[in-house]
Symmetry: C2
Subunit: 353 residues, 2 copies
């Protein structure tokens, strides 16, 4: 529990998510006593403008967290594993965007709209690590969790296919995709230094390692396991196919839900539940054929939800199909982490009133 404007540090401030941390902090009303920007020694010394003031980027070190209350980490799992313990030792609460601690039973995995109440208990215990879920998990659950909670016996099974953007691979992957459009327009061969394949006008299975035991890739296993943890129900049967599409910064997902009992969730009931949920916006205009599109979700805080329809292959009220698009860098990463920070700071809104 933090009962005064906190000293905040960002670890990985020059990455795609790091930059979005800065954008979102400038937009929202989280009061801060100070803001420290940390990055690799390579980026140290750079000056970043924030809210009208220049801030010098400092090299991340074990001693970087003296006096820091909240440390927002987004510099990959290795950096989190190495430096988060020093931050905690210095008295900071770490909000970690990497996968390093997500499945640690002692670490809360939080989407504020879904299980933010877990933090109420955690705050009493003082500083520690809070994990930000994976982008594709957050974006899917923003639509799924309200439906799961509204269903008396909950969801039995989910089949999810993702359409994931370049931003999940970082700023360099986004730049490579845009570079390939320029190469194509100029009639040059497409450069592919990062991916080793054409990305423009192509798509490919998510570029994470395949688990030899199951054949699932890491992204798919994250989506499954993190959903179990966030919904606190490991009995939900989940399968997923994660695919990278040539889109810049918003993930889309086709979601098929089976409820435990027939008669659970009609299309009309689902619309009612989704309309009442926070953090999502229904985009579902059948006459105009307008549904969630990544280009409309980009730069938005809300996850767009559409193609809401009863699964015609199931008994009435048993199955539901949805399609969602959400900004990978905002709700899928930086925004969610900052919403967690806001919940940690008692009366955050009060300070700025």
């Amino acid at each position: 529990m933090i009962d005064r404007p906190p000293h905040v540090a960002i670890v990985g401030c020059t990455g795609a998510v790091g930059r979005e941390f800065l954008n979102i902090l400038a937009e929202r009303d989280l009061p801060m006593a100070s803001l420290t920007l940390l990055a690799s020694p390579r980026s140290a010394g750079r000056v970043i403008e924030h809210d009208g003031s220049p801030i010098e980027v400092k090299a991340l070190a074990e001693s970087s967290f003296d006096g820091v209350d909240i440390a927002l980490f987004s510099a990959g799992g290795e950096i989190s594993r190495q430096f988060a313990p020093f931050a905690v030792e210095s008295g900071a609460t770490v909000i970690d965007n990497s996968s390093a601690f997500r499945m640690d039973p002692g670490v809360p995995l939080i989407v504020p709209e879904i299980n933010g109440d877990v933090l109420d208990e955690f705050r009493g215990r003082g500083p520690g690590i809070i994990a930000n879920p994976n982008c594709s998990t957050i974006i899917a659950l923003m639509a799924i969790a309200p439906l799961h909670r509204a269903a008396p016996c909950g969801i039995q099974r989910m089949v999810i296919s993702t359409y994931q953007a370049a931003s999940g691979g970082g700023a360099a992957m986004m730049a490579e995709l845009e570079q390939q459009a320029r190469d194509h327009a100029a009639g040059r061969p497409l450069r592919h230094d990062i991916l080793g394949r054409p990305y423009l006008f192509n798509l490919f299975s998510h570029n994470t390692a395949i688990d030899p035991a199951t054949g699932y890739n890491t992204e798919e296993l994250k989506l499954i396991r993190e959903t179990h943890k966030i919904l606190d129900d490991a009995t939900i049967a989940i399968t997923a196919t994660c695919v990278r599409v040539p889109v810049l910064r918003a993930h889309s997902e086709a979601i098929n839900l089976t409820f435990r009992e027939p008669g659970t969730m009609s299309e009309a009931q689902a619309r009612q539940v989704l309309a009442a949920a926070t953090g999502i916006r229904i985009v579902d205009d059948r006459a105009a054929n307008r549904f969630p599109e990544p280009i409309d979700a980009s730069g938005q805080d809300e996850v767009l939800v559409g193609r809401i329809r009863a699964d015609i292959s199931q008994p009435p009220g048993k199955g539901l199909d949805l399609f969602v698009s959400g900004d990978q860098l905002r709700k899928g990463a930086a925004l969610n982490a900052i919403q967690i920070a806001e919940r940690l700071v008692t009366g955050a809104r009060m300070f700025t009133a």
Copy 2:
């Protein structure tokens, strides 16, 4: 049954599929007595080079089919409905790539590798209409049908999410997508005369009308109904979400299968079945993270199949996940139609020996 090199006509020879008919006829060994090219009056008079000879495009008319044995139609449902009856009356067998007659109970809906044997019976009845299935149906079923047939009790349920290319919307949609890459590279606003939305770096729900009763779009209903007809089993529960992605000419699909009985199909059994099937190629290199990609499927006759894995959310042998990519213009349209023609011509291969 046609027991001599046939007179062949192509209706819609200037479209994306029409041009692919010509490419494929030049590559394959279907013997022809003559080739007539038909299109709208707008295109009449154009000269198209085929196999080294110039052929003048003629305006489609009721009398265009005199002496024609096989008429390959790909000029949209309206043209098929209007002109196919004249072709049949003239004694031709129509192979129709539109959706006009697919669900007509008297019209065979054929993927030669899957239900080509239906034609054996049909041939005895003389000329008529044979329907070519929708592209997304053909590409999915090339992998699904062998698994369905190998499973003693068959498939119970399919959940399919598609990643469909511009080519399904015709040559103009492909050109618009490429134009948008040039616009982006030049820093211009993206022109979108056809789609009314950015397509580059975006995706959108398939641009076909939504059925008001179900909320499914026409593409999804085609996939469901045509699968029931081709597999001759309307009891299979199928749901689908069809999405257009910024890819030029190959459709991909994430397929989740549930078999009727547990213990039906292990991953190893699935691999064996798929390896023995014709018209598909397994691309499934987990170590190198190489799976079907539309850019690799483009221009290929075979449908690429990968991400073959047991669905970990199901009991062993009950569920299977797959990912396929297939060329929309070839196996998804023109190639399949020409394979049907080859089956109609008795001893087609003999004539060219």
